[in-house]
Amino acid sequence: MAEELIPRSGPPADRDSAAISVRDLRVRYGDREILHGINFDAPAGQTLVILGGSGSGKSTLLRTLVGLENPSGGSIWIHGKDFACMPESARDELRKKMGMSFQSGALFGSMTVAENVALPLREHTQLDESTIDIMVRLKLNQVGLSGFENYMPAQLSGGMKKRAAIARALAMDPEILFFDEPSAGLDPIIAAGIDDLILKLKQAFHITILVVTHELASAFLIADRMILLIKGQIVANGTPAELQASDQPRVRQFLDRVPEKELTAEIDYLQMLTGEIPPERQ
């Protein structure tokens, strides 16, 4: 788990136009720093896609933004409030205005789809059961799962689980939605359906959406802005067109899907496997 945050003195100047502002964010696991001073803004009502390869730190970044990890430095401003420095009770109040869809869905296996979607409403509101039932049906209809209220998560396909998870994330009518690899493990048609759903949610409800993914086709389809993370640092930040036009070597390598240079020498393999510089090269 990361160490406790040292708070900054005040919110960034442009916080009014951004739903989320991140300044000099650092996250460590023990002695190892995963995120090295991340800075970006997520504009309100737009979709920000966080791109990056495996091990780039994008999942750590997402977990930190929703409060599952504590940063070791920097700040996270959500709707003008320093999220990382809040007491847990205040964070919970802010979390009620956010929704998150996990990569595997993270549906509760002992509950039906309807019970999963109803859970935040039952726990955080005073609504009666009939009203909750109506809202659940509405949310499931929005994601195309009408009629599946009484299904258990184990009875659903991968795409349906993701849709059910999105319905649960929408239950409290959030202002900010987080998606962790929404298309991962899905066939192209189902993935396209999820992309379409994300676009419709933004257009219909003007929700601020943050998506972590490495699927380029989905990213360029849904994004208003994109950031590219490589080894815990942002190497590109802009619109999809700006990234596509970038001539930075690391950006081009990622977008053009160029593999790492093939290792031909044994000493290169040794260095890759151990992570240490061999004595011959020191």
Binding site: V66, D92, R95, K96, F102, A106, G109, P120
Partner: protein, 265 residues
């Protein structure tokens, strides 16, 4: 690493683990006894469901085991008592052994195997599937949501199961008493009641409550600290059973010592 250093590190790790258990138990106890007065109710429906699983469904196996243990106790006691011409003390021996010690302990072992392991497996699987993370992102405290209903169920069911275990143990001993020690069922139960005082039953019930807390805390703590992958869920489940049994024995020793020291002369 020097042997003394290993002992030192193991001791520190053990104390840290006990500290984690106390922290978890305190959070669950707050959720059960304080939060309802602040408008945050426990999931009583879930607690009742857990009580059915922990308690009602354990009755058959607790009944059989306690019956056999009572019968074994009677046989072992009679083996010595008949040489002393004191076979009539079999009923009291079985009753005191069951109510003070074996009833609570055998019940705890059964519940550890059935429910303590299930708690660890359930929460461990939820951890692996990111369901615990999902609870936190929905502003639902995992201890309040998952542990509190289990604690309520265990605190209700363990004393009930223990009492039932005591009774079945007495019945088991009674089978020997009626068949081989010259008792009738009436005289056997009368001898049983005469041998016991309220304190004997009280001791057993206090132990059952403490065992309930230990089993819940260890099972849930092992679940929350499960590593990634299905293999880790298996390891957590095994650790929950082993640690629960060990800590229940330790608690048994502590409370038996306390009751011995505070016993009227």
């Amino acid at each position: 690493m020097p042997f003394t250093q290993e002992i030192g590190e193991a001791t520190i790790d053990s104390l840290a683990y006990v500290g984690q258990l106390i922290h978890l138990t305190a959070g669950a106890a707050r959720a059960v006894f304080i939060d309802p007065f602040r408008g945050r109710k426990v999931r009583y429906g879930r607690a009742i469901h857990q009580a059915m699983t922990v308690g009602v469904q354990a009755i058959p196996v607790v009944s059989l085991i306690s019956f056999f243990v009572g019968l074994i106790l009677a046989l072992q006691a009679a083996y010595e008592l008949r040489r002393l011409g004191a076979l009539h003390l079999v009923a009291g021996t079985v009753a005191l052994s069951m109510t003070r010690e074996l009833g609570p302990l055998m019940t705890a072992v059964v519940v550890i195997g059935r429910s303590g392991s299930a708690f660890a497996a359930e929460i461990g699987t939820m951890k692996v599937n990111e369901e615990i993370d999902a609870l936190e992102t929905m502003a639902l405290e995992p201890v309040h949501f998952l542990v509190a209903p289990k604690l309520v169920a265990m605190l209700l069911m363990m004393p009930c199961l223990t009492t039932w275990s005591d009774f079945m143990g007495v019945v088991g001993g009674g089978v020997f008493g009626v068949m081989s020690a010259g008792f009738t069922w009436h005289t056997y139960f009368q001898a049983t009641i005469e041998a016991m005082v309220r304190r004997d039953i009280f001791i057993g019930l206090v132990k059952s409550v403490m065992f309930a807390v230990v089993i819940t805390a260890v099972g849930c703590q092992e679940g929350f600290t499960t590593g990634l992958g299905s293999e880790q869920v298996g390891k957590s489940t095994t650790a929950a059973v082993v640690k629960s049994i060990f800590l229940c024995i330790v608690m048994d020793l502590v409370f038996t010592s306390i009751f011995y020291i505070t016993a009227p002369r």
